[in-house]
């Protein structure tokens, strides 16, 4: 049965009444209109749906809404400050990190989480984290370039 769940999204308190086992991804996209977070597989395999939960990167498709009660979620929409892009977004823009761009929000959020956790991570470590993400356009060389640009900022 439906329950009422409150959580913070991009700094705003949200309250939804819904089935507790609905994926966070669906609630963000359908109930809150935040369609920047993408569905790619629904089973934790592509990471297109990556958002920050308490600062950590999670796959929103396999995160049940009940588990985010009273927690802080950040999505791609909450990254830029007005017209100023987050440095990682800027790096993806400068590094041609998008072909179709469907994987971009997930990749960007993952990288933001990595950089939040340690400001100077080793490149190999970063690539290992991003290694969970799929880009079907196989834009990996430009993605590596964008990642390197992010690490330099």
């Amino acid at each position: 049965m439906d329950t009422t769940i409150s959580f913070e999204v991009n700094g705003e308190l949200k309250t939804v009444t819904t089935h507790p086992s609905r994926p966070l991804l669906d609630v963000l996209r359908e109930d809150l209109g935040l369609t920047g977070t993408k569905y790619g597989c629904g089973e934790g395999q592509c990471r297109a749906c990556t958002v920050l939960l308490e600062g950590k990167a999670v796959a929103a498709c396999v995160t049940q809404i009940a588990t985010v009660e009273n927690k802080k979620v950040r999505t791609i929409e909450g990254l830029a400050g007005g017209d100023t892009l987050h440095p990682v977004q800027q790096a993806f823009l400068d590094g041609a990190g998008s072909q179709c761009g469907y994987c971009t929000p997930g990749m960007v959020m993952e990288l933001v989480a990595v950089l939040n956790a340690s400001p100077n991570p080793a490149e190999a470590e970063v690539l290992a984290r991003l290694g969970r993400h799929l880009c079907r356009c196989c834009n990996y060389p430009n993605l590596k370039r964008s990642i390197r640009l992010s690490l330099r900022r």
């Binding site: 880009c135 196989c138 990996y140």
Partner: protein, 715 residues
């Protein structure tokens, strides 16, 4: 599949002359079909009449080009220049490329052009976005339209000012009179009655476009015009579209291919709050306020559904099945005399499995009805084809259907059809509200069409000088793209024989050119080995085409082929392959390592040289080539659809592994620019050399010939 003979490049200009077949889903939601309705137990039981037999038809990419300047370009009184094209953007870069093309000819900044793509209510029919046709056909069409507008600007200014038009030039979007200093811009054009009349004239095909030497925008890298929206999440992909009151759809899928629904109880789903249930022939679906509710309703329906199954071959029986069903039988070698005279004869079979495109965005559509007019926004490569598909399914006139294609999340030849749009529209009609239907990954893996599997048989003879004397090449089932050998052989025949593939089949990046190159280039290596020749020397001895020789020689040189081939190191091997398709040329040299423990193949280094005429956008061309090569590593090494009893056994990214960061080898990509030649597409041909070069390197490393894709060594 009716028309898989995806011919290389048609010399003419007519998009309809080119076609690439896809097995269509024969929807029919007209009003006159019969379904026998029975009441059963608590609910409504619908029992269907004879099963709808799957029907296959060839797709057409057709449609006439823009007849007038104003159907291609619009000049706003506010100074906004809008360019219209029927092409779509699915990540390949058409939006940037066509914007560049228009800006170049109009003599304006790229940022001054707004490009409207693939809205059938607004744009000319530029045909399907496939077959690498945007660059050789739509770029010229846009350039001509824009150049005609530019000439018109000069024409009107020269008339008004009674100045000789040769003295006038367009710069930064306006003509300036060198004498009086007056200026006349595209904005003024919009307010000029004569101009408005002249803009409705057909584009003069003889209009002068800017020669390569004078290009200021074309030939230079242009980033994606909407790149900012891609990094902020603001861009609305087809699966992101929302309308007030919209419901989310879901369709009941058969548990196996070919299974027929014989009965179902709709009541449990109907009892769910807010859920609309539709049963129409074999189509059963729901629309609900959330995806979660829609899924619950479908699960309830699935529990009551009764199915009748048919037998279906499994992936293990695939090649026997294809050979058995070869249409007209498997033809004999037409050169028996040459074969008997040959010093050496080689004959091998090659196998290529079914694979999926798996674009990261699965098919998605939003359907909206307004009385008897239908608007469907979806991710497809074929907007006008989808309009026809929708019109047919609902028995509507084409002008009652509008198809809009927002930039979508990847196609790779996999989105030529509009089944998701038809399904969404059927649900929306029943719901009386807009419906968004988004396929799941599992549906995408199962119900989208597949790249056809191939059985390829080659027989060739070598003469006493070690040269090819005859060549017979058969592709059973997968298609005729890239089937003709580029090598000089006095007696040769290459043919495509249709069969009945057990899965739904259609296009894919480079289509059958990948399978045909795999077989041919692997076989060329076997022939070279048979006469103890270096594979490079053997190929060059049979090659005349200078553009193909150029890419092959450049790749070999950059890679250090001759030394690396001669120097054998344990566990390491090098291989090469080359080819041509859709007017472009490619050669690849690769190095592989065989991990001794599991006999796993690791691709360490790929050097690829690619030539597609004059390069319009160097950065995007490189991205396309890189993406194509890396995507190609999937089917080359690991991708394979497994199926049994009509069911896909690995319909997930966990069980169907596609290339990831760790799979990317060291890449040395070299683009040969030929400004003296017409530009052609770059997003397909680079894939064809990857797999055979790897298989040849595996032989060099291990002494084992792997004659199937994916290339795997027994553990």
């Amino acid at each position: 599949m009716k028309n898989k003979s995806d011919c290389a490049m048609t010399p003419d200009h007519d998009p309809a002359a080119w076609s690439e077949g896809v097995d269509a889903v024969p929807f029919d939601f007209g009003l006159k079909r019969r379904a026998f309705v029975h009441l059963l137990g608590t609910g409504l039981m619908v029992v269907f009449s004879a099963p709808a037999l799957a029907q296959r038809s060839g797709g057409r990419g057709g449609g006439a080009s823009a007849p007038s300047i104003s159907s291609r370009l619009h000049f706003g009184k506010d100074g906004v220049i809008t360019v219209f094209t029927g092409k779509v953007e699915g990540g390949q870069g058409a939006r940037a490329e066509l914007t560049q093309a228009a800006a170049e000819e109009l003599r304006v900044e790229v940022a001054a052009v707004r490009l409207v793509m693939a809205d059938t209510a607004q744009v000319p029919n530029d045909g399907i976005t496939a077959g690498s046709r945007t660059t050789p056909f739509t770029v010229p069409a846009v350039r001509q339209g824009a150049a005609a507008a530019r000439e018109l600007l000069i024409e009107i200014a020269s008339r008004q000012w009674t100045t000789d038009r040769d003295q006038l030039k367009v710069q930064a979007g306006a003509v300036k009179d060198p004498v009086s200093g007056r200026s006349f811009s595209y904005r003024d054009l919009a307010a000029n009655d004569i101009a408005v009349r002249l803009l409705s004239q057909p584009v003069n095909a003889g209009v002068q476009v800017t020669p390569v030497a004078d290009w200021k925008i074309l030939g230079k890298s242009t980033p994606r015009p909407n790149r900012r929206d891609l990094v902020t999440g603001a861009h609305r992909f087809p699966s992101d579209l929302v309308r007030p009151g919209m419901l989310y759809g879901k369709v009941l899928r058969p548990p196996a291919f070919g299974a027929t629904l014989t009965g179902i109880d709709l009541a449990p789903a109907r009892a769910m709050k807010g859920v609309v249930v539709v049963a129409d022939g074999q189509f059963v679906g729901v629309a609900a306020p959330t995806v979660f509710q829609a899924r619950a309703a479908i699960e309830a329906l699935a529990e009551t559904a009764r199915w009748e199954y048919v037998s279906h071959p499994s992936h293990q029986e695939l090649y026997g099945h294809l050979e058995k069903h070869a249409q007209g039988g498997v033809p004999a070698n037409p050169f028996p005399d040459e074969i008997s005279r040959a010093r050496k004869v080689l004959r091998e079979d090659y196998h290529v499995v079914y694979v999926q495109h798996a674009p990261l965005e699965p098919r998605a559509a939003l359907a909206e009805w307004e009385k008897e007019t239908l608007t469907v926004s979806l991710g497809t490569q074929n907007p006008f084809g989808c309009r026809s598909e929708l019109a047919r399914a609902f028995h509507l006139a084409e002008d009652k259907v509008r198809v809009v294609v927002p930039d979508f999340g990847g196609g790779f030849g996999g989105k030529h059809t509009g089944e998701v749009g038809v399904e969404a529209a059927r649900l929306a009609r029943a719901a009386g509200r807009p419906v968004s239907l988004r396929w799941t990954r599992r549906e995408e893996f199962t119900w989208a069409y597949f790249r056809p599997a191939a059985l390829i048989r080659i027989e060739a003879g070598l003469d006493e000088t070690g040269k090819l004397s005859c060549w017979h090449f058969l592709n059973i089932n997968s298609g005729g793209a890239g089937i003709e050998t580029p090598y000089q052989v006095p007696h040769q025949r290459s043919r495509f024989v249709r069969s009945q593939g057990p899965l739904r089949e259609g296009s894919y990046r480079a289509l059958a050119a990948t399978a045909n190159h795999f077989a041919r280039e692997c076989f060329m290596d076997e022939l070279a080995a048979a006469v103890a020749a270096d594979p490079l020397t053997f190929r060059l001895a049979h090659l005349q085409e200078p553009r193909l020789r150029a890419v092959l020689e450049t790749a070999a040189q950059r890679f250090g082929w001759t030394d690396r081939f001669a120097r054998k190191q344990p566990g390491l091997g090098v291989g090469l392959a080359c080819g041509t398709e859709k007017g472009s040329f490619v050669a690849a040299c690769v190095e592989v390592a065989i991990e001794p423990k599991e006999n796993r193949i690791q691709v360490r280094h790929i050097c690829e040289v690619f030539e597609c005429g004059a390069i319009l956008d160097p950065d995007n061309t490189r991205s396309q080539v890189e993406g194509c090569i890396i995507m190609g590593l999937g089917p080359a090494l690991q991708e394979e659809m497994m199926f049994e009893n009509g069911e896909i056994k690995n319909a997930s990214f966990q069980r169907y592994r596609v290339p990831r960061f760790v799979d990317v080898p060291e890449l040395d990509i070299h683009l040969l620019n030929r400004p003296d030649l017409s530009p052609v597409g770059a997003g397909e041909t680079p894939i064809v050399a990857v797999a055979p070069a790897i298989a040849n390197a595996v032989f060099h490393a291990s002494g084992v010939r792997v004659r199937s894709m994916p290339i795997r060594l027994p553990a």
